[in-house]
């Protein structure tokens, strides 16, 4: 697959904005969030600068979703602060976050498959013509913009009246990202955008993420797939059991380290040992099987590299 070299070449381009000398676009400091007795997040910090991809890695249940929902205004943090451009902010609703330029694209909750491309693109932001009771959705204008934007992201649609359900999974994610960017997002929060996608489709989305970064957006890329994070991340933040498990810069870390930091490393080692023991046992016919995992068919780990 030629996905990775293409992404690498894009990563070598300098982003449109020099990142380090300005305040971070979005910074979360010491965020804690509790649901009754459950500690979902405890003292988590994360920042994203313009022209950077911040990867947020964590196993299932690490608190990724809670953190995203806190950043995007769905939840209010119980402790800690959020800052946009260095200024402290409080989000009362997702709309507040959107108005501050923070757009979240959820894995499977971003587009309506039964609605047309144009209608999806402008849902909630429909351009209108006319006045008073005759104010109506300016569909020709919307269709024109949607067609232009789809062309810009490399999806050629003859008819933006076509239902989004006819697009591939990667194209749908890309559409959602392009839409957020078109409506003024400066920070894109992408929730597992590649987790339900095959290799080719993931490559489409990853390439688009890097392109957005190179246009100067800050991207928070949430994933549990280390092999998707490593090629495109500028910084990596690991979330483990609701706490920050480590923060790294590009080049400082490899996939083995990331895996072990995510808390999946030990389990993967354990699984490897068990499977090896099982394989040895099966090569020696008379010995009775004793591995506890024998009743389950061995499955690959959740973080199996997919695009190398």
């Amino acid at each position: 697959m030629d996905a990775t070299p293409a992404v690498d070449a894009l990563m070598d381009q300098t982003p449109a904005i020099a990142p380090m000398d300005v305040a971070p676009l979005l910074e979360a400091r010491d965020i804690s969030k509790y649901f009754g007795a459950v500690v979902a997040l405890e003292g988590v910090s994360l920042l994203v600068r313009a022209g950077q991809v911040t990867c947020l890695l964590g196993d299932n249940g690490a608190g990724k979703s809670t953190l995203i929902k806190t950043l995007s205004g769905v939840y209010r943090p119980d402790k800690g602060t959020l800052a946009v451009d260095g200024q402290p902010v409080e989000f009362g609703s997702p709309r507040d976050a959107l108005d501050a330029g923070i757009a979240t694209v959820y894995q499977d909750l971003s587009v309506m498959p039964l609605m047309s491309i144009t209608r999806n693109f402008f849902l909630g932001n429909e351009p209108t013509v006319g006045v008073g009771p005759f104010k109506r959705f300016d569909i020709p204008k919307a269709a024109g913009i949607a067609r232009e934007e789809m062309k810009r992201i490399g999806i050629d649609v003859r008819d933006t009246d076509q239902a989004v359900g006819t697009l591939s999974g990667g194209e749908r994610q890309t559409l959602a990202i392009a839409r957020a960017e078109y409506f003024g997002a400066r920070v894109l929060i992408l929730d597992e955008p590649t987790s339900a996608l095959g290799v080719k489709q993931s490559a489409i989305v990853l390439r688009h993420i890097v392109a957005a970064r190179n246009r100067g957006l800050g991207v928070i890329f949430i994933t549990h797939n280390v092999s998707h994070a490593l090629p495109i991340g500028d910084t990596f933040t690991i979330l483990s059991r609701g706490k920050t498990g480590g923060q790294f810069k590009r080049g400082e870390v490899d996939d083995t380290q990331l895996h072990s930091q995510m808390g999946g490393g030990d389990e993967l080692h354990e699984l490897t040992r068990e499977l090896e023991a099982l394989a040895r046992a099966e090569r020696r016919p008379p010995a009775p099987a004793q591995a506890p995992a024998a009743s389950h068919p061995p499955t690959p780990g959740p973080d199996q590299p997919a695009s190398h």
Partner: protein
């Protein structure tokens, strides 16, 4: 590498898209199935009529056509609102009981309280709209399925009609004085019809219900297809969570549509109360299922996010034709339910086949 991932200029026509003919584009519309159903139903009753009585058959006459249009209109008035609500992903099973209730309120206002007819109608409309909004409010606030919530309010509203009526009348209906209706501006509007002279001194008339139906359907088509609110309706039904993330006021959209459904029930109640010069607690029984059937024949999905107001109007037309066609053909009226059930099944299968085949959707 698929063509969709390359940024290079492309030869005319992506390899992922086919040229589609006009016929295919038509079949890609949600109302296409309903149009086929209407033609199909008409052809069936046309054949039956012609075999029975030749071209003079009542089904083919102007009077007969206006007759089934009136039946279609009565279903169509409430089905338009129900379809919009279904596209937003919700049901209203209480709409039939709301028709009865709104009528009873009009009857009590006019006959018992001696209020002007117009005031009674306005009062009933306001109350039905409010109760519709209450349905919506309960659904939105509790997050319960609207199927259950409105099933509960179906019983409550039907029961309230009986209780109210029994406190003012020993019988289960409230008569309304026709002269009051005729002398009232709103009353005479809802009771109005346009007389038409047929050859040989015979007359027929276009019932006002048909005008209301066409007006409401046209407004519905406009709202769904050409306004921001219409885009929100489909978005809310497609995925409430996603629509909310995009800034769509999901709760307001749903409550507004439930209120609209209540209002449409009151419009139908006003037509029936003034035409029959009475309000009956049982009026509207079963209408909720007629309305849902109509919306589904019209191409709306039970799961929301997809549907058509124009298709719903065609669905109402198919229902009206089938109901009166059976009467005109002197077939035992019990066959109507069998016909509607069959029609519903055929329409659902046809619609889902069309959706897969021509709109590229599953």
């Amino acid at each position: 590498m698929t063509s969709t991932t390359t940024a290079a200029p492309r030869a005319p026509g992506s390899d992922r898209l086919r040229d589609v003919s006009l016929a295919q584009r038509f079949l890609g519309r949600p109302a296409a199935g309903a149009l086929i159903i209407v033609v199909f139903v008409w052809l069936i009753f046309f054949s039956i009529s012609v075999t029975q009585r030749g071209l003079d058959a009542p089904f083919l006459s102007l009077a007969g056509t206006l007759n089934y249009l009136d039946v279609a209109a009565q279903v169509g008035i409430i089905a338009t609102a129900v379809a919009l609500l279904m596209i937003a992903g919700e049901f209203d099973l209480s709409i039939g009981s709301m028709v009865g209730f709104a009528g009873i309120i009009m009857g009590i206002g006019i006959t018992i309280w001696n209020l002007p007819v117009w005031l009674s109608i306005v009062m009933a409309m306001a109350l039905a709209t409010f109760l519709g909004a209450v349905n919506g409010f309960i659904v939105v606030r509790t997050g319960l399925p609207s199927f259950i919530v409105t099933l509960a309010t179906l019983f409550i509203i039907r029961g309230a009609s009986s209780v109210l009526t029994s406190t003012v009348s020993p019988i289960t209906y409230i008569p309304v004085d026709p002269t009051k209706i005729a002398s009232d501006p709103l009353g005479s509007l809802f009771a109005w019809n346009l007389p038409i002279q047929l050859g040989g001194g015979a007359t027929t008339s276009i019932q006002v219900s048909i005008f209301f139906w066409v007006l409401i359907a046209v407004i519905g088509v406009y709202i769904l297809g050409r306004t921001r609110f219409g885009n929100w309706i489909a978005g809310v039904g497609g995925s409430g969570a996603a629509a909310r993330n995009l800034g769509v006021p999901v709760a307001r959209v749903k409550i507004a549509l439930f209120a609209l459904t209540g209002f449409s029930a009151a419009v139908l109640a006003a037509i029936q109360t003034t035409r029959f010069t009475s309000a009956d607690i049982l009026r509207g029984t079963g209408y909720e299922l007629d309305a849902i059937t109509t919306a589904v024949i019209g191409g709306s999905l039970l799961t929301g996010g997809y549907g058509s107001v124009a298709g719903t109007a065609l669905g109402a037309l198919a229902l009206g034709m089938a109901r009166q066609g059976i009467v005109f053909a002197d077939i035992n009226a019990d066959w109507y339910k069998i016909a509607i059930g069959t029609l519903l099944l055929v329409a659902v299968v046809l619609n889902s086949w069309i959706r897969r085949k021509f709109a590229g959707l599953t």
